[in-house]
Subunit: 240 residues, 2 copies
Amino acid sequence: MPHASRSSAPTRASHGSVLDDLGLRIADGVLAPGTVLTLAGLEEEYGVSRTVIREAVRVLEAKGMIESRRRIGVTITPMSRWSVLDPVLIRWRLSGSTRPQQIVALTELRLAIEPVAARLAAQRASELERAEIGRLAGLLKQLGDAGKGDSEEYLSADIAFHDRILEAGGNLMLTAIKQPIAEVITGRHNAGLTPAHPLHGALHNHVEAATAIVRGDADGAERHVRGYVETILAEVRAEQ
Amino acid sequence: MPHASRSSAPTRASHGSVLDDLGLRIADGVLAPGTVLTLAGLEEEYGVSRTVIREAVRVLEAKGMIESRRRIGVTITPMSRWSVLDPVLIRWRLSGSTRPQQIVALTELRLAIEPVAARLAAQRASELERAEIGRLAGLLKQLGDAGKGDSEEYLSADIAFHDRILEAGGNLMLTAIKQPIAEVITGRHNAGLTPAHPLHGALHNHVEAATAIVRGDADGAERHVRGYVETILAEVRAEQ
DNA sequence: TTCTTGCAATAAGTACGATCATTGTGGCAA
DNA sequence: TTGCCACAATGATCGTACTTATTGCAAGAA
């Protein structure tokens, strides 16, 4: 028996919602790899036209999540072929049941990317960028010392700090993980996982990293950024 | 006057070829950010139906390369919003006029990812994976010493070596860059940029990295992998 | 029995025309 | 000048029809 229609009322923004729902279900494993669907079935299930289903399927296919073959249908592909760095896919996986593992995987990715971005930033950042990174580090320190590590202000300064470093690295491939990182930071903040008084070592590393970037010390920048990402990684691994 | 049709003969595999051509033109800057197209115009230009154009547009939209708005048309978005880690987009950029910059950017990404993957591999790899990595390093050494650094055999062993390390790291987000890396390695090989006698230091680093992974020495693995990626980075920067 | 060949069924791929929905723009009135 | 409103442009969705590739199965040959 086919699934019941998921949208009793005529849905707005069909493409987006179908894509999002399908993507979520696949990313979360509800539709396991190997599962075979048909366009006709999806058409009925979502109560939308062929066009909408096809476009959603094409997008998912472009992300490597499904494979469409004549005479067979639409097959969910094994996770090893997914474009796991795709921002949208990362969001889907962060909102599914595998969120904890995703956060660890993403933090490992941060451990790879951020120190190198910091090194490049120390070499390439403009004066404006250096000043801004220094300013943000000072703000973080000030807020942290004042016991406001769990405030909205700290959160936005934290995100901005990491964003500016990634940007100052001057390599778009390194800045590409900005958004997922911001989402993880925000998620941890909203879950109450960021203490009012940040760990002294981590805060110190932030300030030192900024100082190193400002004065063009590539080794120092890399080392201190690695230092605080390792702190975060230890935390998220412990939380799992 | 609209462009002449690009396909006089009724094209096979319409979706793929339209997507590829459009993606290439955007990635290469032939269609610059800000350029506005219309579905009708594309339909006529490629001589295919709306269905095909729409699906290609959706996929490019999912990659952040274009934005489709009613009453306006389809606009090429600024590069800062592209999903530059998308394997297909990387391939497009590697085959366009910006190939040299892409190779440098990708190698900087390797400098971030591979050492961390090697560290994780030293901690997590299975016995089978360790053995395979050791075997491949031995093969590379043997071929390199024999002056076969420019052979097909060396090329495939080199790619396999890097792939196995990324896989053994056990983090899909780190393995995601396998394919682009392989393409760059292959491209440099085919361009005659890999010498028959590989640089002694680089070869040594490969062997030492493998040894470190085999014996579970995370620091050593990370250090030696970073060593040879830095060598490669210096080379590709010099080639630019 | 076993292998090849061809037919038929299936489901995706492509095409087309109609209609809906949104939104920028220009005109008109206050 | 300002603000409201109607119009038109264009993507979004729909439904249908036709095309093509793939696969399974059956019939026939070896």
